[in-house]
Amino acid sequence: MQPRVIAILLAHSRSEQLQLTIESLRAQSRQPDKLILADLDPKGIGVREDADDSPPWFGSVRFDSVTKVRPGSSLGRAVQLVLADLKAEQKAEQKAEQETEQKAELKSKADSAAAAAEKSEWLWILREGSQPAPRALFELAAAAENSPSAEVVGPMLLEAKPEGQIASLGETLSRFGAAVQLVEHELDQGQHDDLDDVLAVEAEGSLVRRSLWELLGGFDPKLPSIDSGLDFSVRTRLSGKRVILAPKAKVVTAGSPETFGGARTTPGKSFRIARAAQLHRRLVYSPVLATPLHWLSLFPLAVARSVADLLRKYPERISGEFLAAASAAFSPGVLAARSRIRSEKTASWESLLPLRMPTRELQARRALERDLPEEGEEGPTGGNRAQFFANGGVWALVILAIIGLISFGSFIAATAITGGGLRPLSDSVSELWANIGYGWRNIGAGLQGAADPFAAVLALMGTLTFWNPSSAIVFTYLAALPLAGAAGWFAARRISAGRHLPIVGAVLWALAPPFLAALAEGRFGAVMAHLLLPWLLVAGLKAARSWGSAATASILLAATTASSPSIAPALAILLVVLWISHPLSLHRTGWIPIPALVLAGPLVIGQILAGNALGLLADPGVPVSGSPAAWWQLAIADPALLGQSWTELLGRLGVGFGLAEAPAGIVILVLLAPMIIGTVISALLPKSRRGLVGLAVAALGLATALLSARIQVGGIANSPVFVWTGSGLSLYWLGLVATLVIGLGYMGSLRVLLGIVATLAVGVLAIPLLAATILGTSAVTASDGRIMPALVVAESATESEAGTLVITSLGEAGISVRLERGAGAMLDDQSTLISARKKAGEADERLQTLAGNLAVPSGYLAADEFRALDVEFVLVPASSEDDSTHRQIVDALDGNEVLSAVGETRFGSLWQYSGPRDEPTGEPGSYKSPTRTGYLILLGVVFGAALLLAIPTGSPKRRDQFGRRDQSGRSSELQSAGEEND
């Protein structure tokens, strides 16, 4: 018997897509017997009705009936409503018929006829935008006729673009219940025309026997879009019926199921729906004993999969994982679906096994996908990028390494480096980590407060050389030049074309005057910032297009602002520029400041509460006093040390060359001239428009440096401590070098000469700074890790917190005093909360009074103060011969009856107080405070997530794990412009 086909067209709006569908329907070689429109448009599709009883028509097609469906209903629900309407209509017809005919005998005949009619009725489910080929319905009906036991027939779904690509041709389940498309990424070339029995087909365009629909109760209401066809087909199979394919019936699909209703979906939303569907199916299909286990595993699995998502650079899926788990766990439909299956099941799950995809085949498929060729990265102007090994990058680094070893050779076997802004790190890794976050700041009199963010950077570095944390600083010094050179090389490669230009970038960055000055003065935060800035630039340039780069940029931003807070405002401005210039990527770039904010949060809150917002700009590490550079020195990227070292060098050499009187500024200007000329030419070249961004960065850096020179953040004794201008100058230098490197790429043959001259000139410029350690003008020296006399260190091993009062003679100006606890305050103990404080506290005044009375003969009862403050030693550093204040202090301490002289040590003269001392009352605020623990957990979570996201895993994002149709095929333009490309 010819099957009767009732075509149900679901339309949600009066759009072009609907017209296409109607055209296709009109062009069918075999027309459906009934055409019903399900109208989901809230305003109505606009079906016209004639005044008489004739069927409504739309466009060029007449519908047999129209059913209004609530907008937003799912496909299954719409079909149910249509069928309900149809049944009502048919019952009304029957009733009319019955009234005109004999009643009783014809009633049963009419019933059986109705039943038989129902049995031979087929539903053809179409949605707005489906475009069946002209022979589609013919092929589907033919296939249904040829296989009497088949109750669902699915067509071949084709993509709209690119034409001819198969969107879906049968679905199946893997061993573990994941949905897998039988055919992926293939063009229709007739290779699958022999596919017959499948486990499942998609709902769109499929032909479903009406009795089966009534038997199974339609689609699962909990699977509104994705997997609705899959679940229906599985239940069909379980009830003993067959599901077949009719590959010759081709239907161009409107889109993946979740786009029904016209809603735009994002990849994240699609993922959530698919995952929720998978979890629902898992709970429904699982054996009854396993279901509770599956239910319990929902949340832990969500957590584990979130971690995996971060690693695979799908962070937008994390919310979907948890929402899907929640909806699957707490939706009431699971029980209903299970009971439905139980009631209709006649076949067993094992009978479906031949139709499912074995794991081996699935793995082979995945492996094939991974081998698909990746897109290679192109340089900014296309063409080949410079190679690190082939184009001289390695040689540049080797030369820089040799220069660095010559320059810092005295540190090779050192345990630690001391001097300037440097002190050794704490001895054990646990102490390093105890010093981060919020807690007891163990320096001087001590304070309960937030640590510098830099302490976290130091803790990380110290952990890398866990046997002797200070070795990390030593290695950084020894490898400083090649590390900077590598950073400069890769950054220059990123922004410029040209085989050998990155070498210019490498050398210019490694020999930058602010960098060498920071190394000579021991300003370790500025050194780290200089090393990290180029990587931050590289990551930031790519952050708009890639999750991994955005995460890397966020971690680097946190590390850079922790190392050098003075450039944080400039970096914030650059971040805002990034946001404004790439507004569509805000979902990626918006996260970039989060790790930096979390890391610096406690300190920011602490300083603002203390009313000392300027103190946030203070450099971490040991404060270094000195007067800042003048404006003209800053303009030539000289944080004052370059000029000083040149003056010194000229003074030493100048006698022979007649240059003794030449001012250092002129020499520096002459040596910088090639680079400045190159930068100016680069800026004026019209082609290197991107170089102007470099100049903008340079301007920001220079402004930062100029302002830093005017901000005093404290003092040591009677010398002021200013914000280090070198970090702003590093940013300034970055902008200049970037502009130069970009511009050199466009200068043609001039670039060779200019590049070499500029590089050599900067090399000569750096000589006195490089030689600073050799000549002894550098503030840093190798040390054995002790900053206090041996007796003090030995005492601290047994009684860890006995204090040492360090009284330094300032000559005519007086004296200065500080308190060191234990073996002294190490580099990770330093805290800007204390060094940048604006007011001396009560503990400070006590120390000052005590020191003032110890430094001269006095009737003060020092023993009481020593006992109360738990001070055991007094140390007076050596001073020059004619310092009468120093002699006076030594005499007074010698004559003090409570102190006994220990003698001269490397660090000065030492006295010891041997009387009883109060036990320390324990640190106020122990390490276990909940604030501290909570903050550390937050820090771990934020940085852990960023780290996982940043780790490059290199997997191409073609495969969609849920076996749904490949989204990328439809949106290839989107992919090249905005989607992931890691």
């Binding site: 004296i815 005093v817 003032g852 001269v856």
Partner: protein, 517 residues
Amino acid sequence: MTDSGELDQSTIPGVHSPLAGKVLGLIGGTALGLVAIGAIGVLIAGSALIPMPVVGSGLGSKVVTPVATDRLRVCPGPIVRLGEVSGEDANVAITVGSPELIRDSTIGKVEEESLRPAGNASNIPAKLLRLKPQASGEIGLVSGSQSQLASEPDLVGFAAASCVKQSSDTWLVGGATTTGRTSLLLLTNPSSVDSEVSVEVYSERGLEDVSSGNQILVPAGSQEVLSIAGLASGLASPVVHVSSEGGRVTAQLQESIVRTLTPGGVDVFTGSVAPSTSLVIPGVVIADPEAVESMSGVPDFEDLAGILRILIPESSAGQADSTVKMVVSAIPETEDSTPSSATFSIEAGKVTDLPLATFAPGSYTFTVKTDLPAVAAVRTSTVTLEDSAADGSAADGTDDQPPVAAALDFAWFAAAPELTEDTLISVAPGPGAMLHLANTGSDSAVVTIDAREGAGNTLTIPAGAAIAVPVTDGMSYALAGYSKLRASVSYQGNGALAGFVIQSQSRQSNSVSVYLG
């Protein structure tokens, strides 16, 4: 920013020709470059022309005024002899008699504490005078002095010494360690911290090598007695330099002379000032010049003659055997005095004893000016010849009998420190007590001398002049009204000669500016 760097033509309204678009693109690019460079230039120029103030400040300093300390004076105690009269226990210091001590203070009461004596436990100890500050922080002036007349078989003479301040560095010019001359170094440590003292001895040969003179421990609150002869014997002209570490000590030298079996006098003197190019020795008493001259011709009585002992400890630039010029002036301490001076050349590094010229009896202030810092002291003697003692007429050495002294004593007069503030003097009991004031400033000084009980006196001393005023012994006097003064007290009697300089009051410590860091 497009990759190619060229302007998209469609963004420029009205431009349709590709060439025009390209030219505009070129100009636009260069213009933007100029703007960018100009921006940096504006930044630099702006910072050059607009002076921006410094924001933020350091912590500043706190001026700490030290708690006032006690004023301490150490009185050396009785005359000391090594061993008993009979010669037993020759390595133990035994005190002889006990001195009379006069002490006073202007505000508050002076406490007298006994220190632990050296040697024998039955010795009379040295005394420590302590003046505590008032509750208001004010502290008065304190002074003290002691004197003792010895008449033992081996010790005869009059010795007076003032109670002195502690010092970490003391130069003692005087003494001798030739046969019969005993020089004992009294080291007293009044502090509560042990002191390590090193002793250097210079002589006419230069710096003596005294290996045992280093690191003598003087325990807290005790006195040690050291014989200079034990360090370096046979020295005719020693100068002792005492430096201490730890607690500061006071150092005095006691010299006693025994010629064969006849005691020849005793003297106790305290430290001279630190080496200086300008030294003032006030109150040098010249007594019985003819008797001294005739007596000093007798063998072994040579050291009765008056001498000026001078030492320049360091030669210029460390050269040995360099000679230094010095000018010595003697100012008679009378009204309308006219000083007389002489120039000498002496060798640095060696102690030189210059014989004094013949002066009329009286008291004189000697000033010594040298090119290099020096220490100096003057020794004179008083001699009462036997014949003249009987009838008071001038002795003559014309007969063949050598003159015999009935009573003699010697005294060392040390250089006085400059007094710039009011001070207090205690005059211990003794014969012929005189107060000597020398004005070495450039202005005339009006000095008021106020007896603590009784009337006062006001004197005007012209610049560069000196004056001697008789004072009542056993009394204390307050001196005020001067800006620069040198003062000493002397005693002169029959067989009694002694003197001591007046030290300034110990200064309270100045306030200290204490910074943090």
